[in-house]
């Protein structure tokens, strides 16, 4: 087993992996940029080393610097987390060459799945169902028109190197196609340095459901059940759950077997996720494979009772999977909310800054994977994910109610978060009935939102504000006695009163 693991990432996922290391008796090494010296992932690590200035390109993406640190501190493995270098085949290869075990698949598996067209070509060979369309980049607008005619509109143009919705266009008629293709190609070139674009049939109101797989380095591959990830905003997942409200045992087995075939076709080792689009008839189509641990892995951990990070580490250390497919049993239901530093009342603008007050939920059925603490200043330089709040229950309704209860206990003061959005989702009838698709959240946000508030809340707000002011007046008076000026901005005029009256 490894003695020391370096975690080449930042934020909550590093805290998550550090915890797993400590649970396995392995020393955990953090790395940090200048913006992150005070970050929670540095506090929780056994060792920590500076990488460079705040921009990721000068710190968390610096392959050589990270490998230098690994060598210097004698880490024998690197966990890449998600994002940053986690799906970078060059990094995986550089780790192998430096003699440091990369905790994830081989560079070759990553490369096969890194290009969507290459992945489609390979999946075609392996007989995997995927959304009809081309498996190679389009050579001309004419070819595009031909293909689109054959599979029928609406179609979707997608960048082969794509991700995050970039280089993507939905096309409803032949007339729009040429301009859309040009726009997609030039956006793909700008975003990924690769203009390759291909066509997929557009699935109307699909669900996004993904299957977790786990493979050891001895040819054993299992699936651990699906996650429903249809609740998205700007192609960003916001709420995920396991199991999916529409997947039954038979569909799970069929999707799982396809996912295992995908992983085997890619010679895959370690944890990976196969994403599917599911249409309204519950047909599922291979979309892509994520060759890393997912943000939303906790929901799978809660329903399977397994620890995916422990298993990743065991697998990377060369061990065989300690169980077989038939041993994997799902129990209960788990739902995850991604808590972002953004302001739902202000167009979801990011909201970095100092966390002045932090009250975190706990108790039965609640798991909180966080990367923050009271007093910390959330930097402006990185992604706004603060924490993942997960509710687990015997069934979907209990998980929902527990999550709602926990959100009521959660308070982050000093910056804004999207916690209020989740209350709205959890109370929504469509959510509760499991009527979800990737357009769900946009529809919900467009619908009128009444603030659900007890009649007395405003009065209490007024009384509370008054008491805060009065307490400050009193203590300002005391402080002024001792000659010290008070600085609070809460009630200038209230203090003025104390001095004048």
């Amino acid at each position: 087993m490894f003695k020391k693991i370096l975690i080449a990432n930042r934020g909550e996922i590093v805290v998550r992996v550090i915890r797993a290391c400590h649970e396995l008796g392995i020393a955990a090494v953090a790395v940090y940029s200048d913006a992150d010296r005070a970050a929670l992932h540095v506090r929780k690590a056994d060792e920590a080393y500076r990488l460079g200035p705040a921009p990721a390109s000068e710190s968390y993406l610096k392959i050589e610097t990270i490998l230098d640190v690994a060598k210097k501190c004698r880490a024998d493995a690197i966990h890449p987390g998600y994002g940053f270098l986690s799906e970078n085949a060059k990094f995986a290869r550089a780790c192998a060459e430096a003699g440091v075990k990369f905790i994830g698949p081989s560079a070759a598996s990553m490369e096969m799945m890194g290009s969507k067209t290459r992945a489609r070509q390979n999946m075609e060979k392996a007989g995997i169902p995927f959304v009809p369309g081309t498996s190679r980049g389009l050579e001309s607008p004419e070819q595009a028109l031909q293909v689109a005619d054959k599979i029928g509109y609406p179609i979707m143009l997608k960048a082969a190197a794509g991700g995050g919705g970039k280089g993507m266009r939905l096309v409803h008629t032949a007339g729009e196609l040429k301009a859309a293709l040009e726009a997609a190609q030039s956006e793909a070139q700008r975003s990924f340095g690769d203009s390759e674009v291909y066509i997929e049939k557009a699935i109307v109101n699909p669900r996004h459901i993904e299957m977790q797989v786990l493979a050891d380095e001895h040819g054993n591959t299992v699936y651990l059940g699906e996650r429903e990830c249809s609740i998205q905003r700007r192609h960003q997942k916001v709420v995920e759950e396991a199991p999916s409200p529409i997947v039954d045992a038979d569909m799970r087995r069929r999707m799982g077997e396809v996912a295992v075939r995908v992983a085997k076709a890619a010679n895959y080792a370690n944890a990976g996720t196969i994403e599917f689009l599911v249409d309204q008839q519950k047909n599922f189509y291979f979309l892509e494979m994520n060759t890393r641990l997912q943000v939303e892995h906790p929901v799978t951990e809660l329903v399977t009772g397994l620890d995916l990070v422990h298993l990743q580490i065991h697998i990377a250390a060369g061990q065989k999977l300690p169980f077989k497919q038939e041993d994997v049993q799902l129990r209960g239901h788990a739902i995850e909310c991604r808590i972002y530093a953004e302001d739902p009342e202000n167009n979801y603008f990011p909201s970095p800054g100092k966390i002045v007050t932090l009250a975190e939920p706990a108790g039965p059925g609640i798991r909180l994977d966080g990367g923050i603490y009271e007093g910390w200043t959330v930097p402006i330089d990185y992604d706004p994910l603060l924490a993942k709040l997960v509710g687990y229950g015997a069934d979907r309704s209990q998980a929902t109610m527990r999550l709602e209860r926990a959100l009521g206990e959660y308070f982050v003061g000093g910056i804004q978060t999207n916690a209020g959005l989740f209350r709205r989702i959890l109370k929504d009838a469509d959510f509760q009935a499991g009527r979800l698709d990737t357009g769900y959240l946009d529809r919900l946000l467009k619908s009128s939102s009444e603030k659900i508030e007890p009649a007395s809340s405003k009065e209490i707000a007024a009384i509370g504000a008054g008491i805060f002011a009065a307490l400050e007046t009193e203590s300002a008076a005391t402080r002024n006695d001792s000659g010290k000026p008070s600085k609070s901005e809460w009630t200038k005029t209230a203090r003025a009163e104390a001095l004048h009256s």
């Binding site: 603008f349 970095p352 402006i380 330089d381 007395s456 007024a462 509370g464 008054g466 209230a494």
Partner: protein, 165 residues
């Protein structure tokens, strides 16, 4: 103590005096007995007629907020007898309007130039923070009188980015 308290734009009259375990309050003329304990520097526990409330406060981008039962309220407290309490007030809709940065970040793109005309809701510039690009929109139809934002510059929440006339 007597305060004018504005909660989400509505002004309330609050007259309060200390009593055992809290305060006797008169809110907009109605008597309310309030059991209040400051439990943490920014957190009050209030009990009124047996009902329990936690009131959190925070200051954000120059605004004061109180939170009750998961809902955020903009709160302004002023003393009606003080001069300072009377001046100020909301910006006039018809005068020049400042556009301020809603969060700290970096100006990555200007979408208009000085002296150009803008519609209400039109994008004026893009500010990046936390890996997201955010379009800052004009609050009104008018002329861009001043464009203080510079591409590449870091801005803090509340910084004036532009003035629309």
């Amino acid at each position: 103590m007597i305060y004018d308290i504005t909660i989400d734009g509505k002004v309330h009259k609050l007259n309060m005096r200390r009593k055992e375990n809290g305060w006797q309050c008169q809110l907009d003329g109605r008597e309310i007995a309030v059991d209040a304990v400051l439990m943490q520097p920014n957190m009050l526990s209030i009990i009124v007629d047996g009902r329990v409330y936690e009131v959190q406060r925070e200051s954000l981008a120059g605004e004061n907020h109180v939170w009750v039962a998961g809902i955020r309220y903009k709160a302004e407290v002023s003393d009606p007898r003080s001069l300072r309490g009377r001046k100020g007030g909301a910006a006039n809709e018809s005068g020049p309007r400042k556009i301020t940065a809603p969060m700290p970040g970096k100006v990555v793109r200007l979408l208009v130039s000085e002296k150009s005309e803008v519609e209400a809701g039109q994008g004026v510039m893009v500010v990046e923070a936390m890996k997201m690009q955010n379009e800052i929109k004009s609050p009104k139809k008018g002329i861009v009188q001043k464009l203080t934002a510079v591409v590449g510059a870091a801005v803090n929440a509340g910084d004036v980015l532009a003035v629309i006339e």
